[in-house]
Amino acid sequence: MTISAHRGLRWRLQLTGLALGLAVLYGVGIALFVLTVVGLPLSLVAGVGIPLTLAALLLTRGFTDLYRWAFARLLGVAIGRPYLPWPRGHLGSQLWQLLRTPTTWRDLLWLLLNAVVGLLAPVLVLALAGGVLWYASLPLLWAILDRAAGPEMAEWVLRTDFGFWAIDSQQTAYAGLAIAGGFALLWWLLTPHLLRGYARFCGTLLGPTGAATLAARVRQLTESRAETVDAQAAELRRIERDLHDGAQARLVSLGMSIGLAEELIRTDPEAAIRLLSEAREDSGEALAELRQLVRGMHPPVLADRGLPGGVAALAITHPLPVTVVDELPGRPPAPVESAAYFAVSEALTNISKHAGATAVEVRLAYADGRLVVTVTDDGRGGAQLVSGGGLRGVERRLSAFDGTVSLTSPAGGPTVVTMEIPCELSSAKTTPSSGTG
């Protein structure tokens, strides 16, 4: 939702609708609280109490989610979801686990406090809106009642006596418009504040506590660390295998060829020469394999030129024309560069395999403490983050750095893959482009 919409009439009407909704939900909240309070003691004697309480707690989660959704959507007040996944096990154990979770009690406390003060803000908003409607319609009402039942009847129905103002004629009824104006002003000014204040009150109990946020973060880090460790171990195994089966074996054969050549050099120089040239070929192939291995670990051009150079090198060997736009004010740390490089490489490979594109743009930028890499192609679109797919692999690779991958790919394209990795840049580019500019 944009700022301009936030300031508009339509938004305030929506907020008034929200207030009406909150007033209705107030009753539901009380019902849920009562349900839980009744269910809990019943649970001690088991029977129907446990499922009743569980249902109440589950409904409460859905109920608070509704509040979170409405506050985020209409007020821009984001309240995090503090819940752990619903516990497993039989019903009794589920309830036991829930009762040991602070969020359950915070929810209950919120239901209780909400029952006390929850109506305040919505009712005030509705009263202001109601004031506007009532006073603005006075002239019309007077006219109708006057015609239908005469002025005495109208005066009796619409009786309003503030001392300085009594409605006893069509003229005095028009004064209602001025009061409606006052209400409208108050409604316009106060509605957002009242509801935001209410949303914040809800946020203090419905949002995650510092400890909960921390726990969630620890859980996330544990997962990403496990993935990183797995990936590293697999990588090491691959390198070990490649060295063992490739370069190492070739060097052994090289040594044997040279040894044999030494023996033969006097008796059969021809054979010795053949062996030596074989040995040279072996050494060449061993080098080629080592080179391949190094490229897979850390491409030399990336080490030399940093991310822009590495991506430019990828661009050259890509079958499609790839435009590289470098807006990086400095160099990211080497591990981040490496992760981003392989991510771009994977994205480019994906494009050449699946996209049916004719041109690609890779943009390297830095904003809000994040390296932002966008890869855009003009292909047919419809790309997805499927498990086992290349982009999912990129996501896993970047998760070690708290990085994210997002994808927009409407049918018909264009497809935009955005990769973001939080990092610090070194102050200046240490490796400017070479003298050729």
Binding site: V301, A303, T317, P321, T323, D326, T431, S433, S434, G435
Partner: protein
């Protein structure tokens, strides 16, 4: 032939010097860092420079940059870059001044001494010598720009990029030199290379090969 060598690895430096001297080259200076190499190149103006990409102090592309900088001071200074790895990006940068006299080979090619010395002489004479691996990497990409070329013309261009003469290409493809000449003319025509400056057209063709699209001419800065 006077040679300036830029190589930081002592064993390789000595080996290369021995190899070059054995083939009637005069190694006037063997520099082991980027700055000393740059200074040596401008001071000696050698017939050819043999340069490692990675040199101290940064151990990145110091040698490559020293060579490119020297060519700006001494246009057409023949440079043969030897590296543990080949990178099309670097090949393109070396060729970017279009003056020719450039080679870029994997270090292991040195072990095929005759071919290496041949490449060195070609570069010294103003020709080009690209490592087959650069060429292979680019072909693997399946360049769009080369789409109009027939398979045979692409083969010819690839061999031309490696720096071979028409005679050598003819031998490699088992065709007559005349046929090679015809293919090369077709390549020039299809890549839209100007008729004039006949000497540089081979370089331009290789460059066209490396620069598949002007829009992707390196990162914008």
């Amino acid at each position: 032939m006077r040679v300036v060598l830029g190589e930081d690895h002592a064993l390789l430096r000595d080996g290369l010097t021995r190899l070059l001297v054995a083939h009637d080259c005069d190694v006037v200076e063997a520099a082991d860092t980027g700055p000393t190499l740059a200074a040596a190149l401008t001071r000696h103006r050698p017939d050819v420079a043999v340069v490692d990409v990675r040199l101290p102090p940064t151990f990145t592309d110091e040698g490559l940059r020293a060579a490119i900088a020297a060519r700006q001071v001494i246009p057409g200074l023949p440079v043969l870059v030897l590296s543990q790895y080949v990178e099309p990006l670097y090949a393109r940068e070396l060729l970017a001044d279009r003056a020719g006299g450039v080679g870029y080979l994997l270090k292991d090619r040195v072990s095929q001494v005759a071919q290496f010395v041949d490449a060195l002489r070609r570069v010294a004479a103003g020709g080009t010598a690209m490592d087959p691996e650069v060429v292979a990497q680019l072909l693997g990409g399946g360049r769009d720009r080369l789409a109009p070329l027939t398979a045979r013309e692409q083969e010819v261009l690839a061999l031309m990029a490696e720096g071979r003469t028409n005679a050598a290409i003819a031998r490699a493809l088992f065709v007559t030199e005349k046929a090679v000449g015809k293919h090369i003319n077709n390549v020039f025509r299809k890549l839209d290379l100007p008729e004039s400056a006949d000497d540089n057209r081979r370089v331009l063709a290789v460059l066209a090969y490396l620069q598949h699209d002007p829009a992707t001419d390196g990162p914008r800065r």
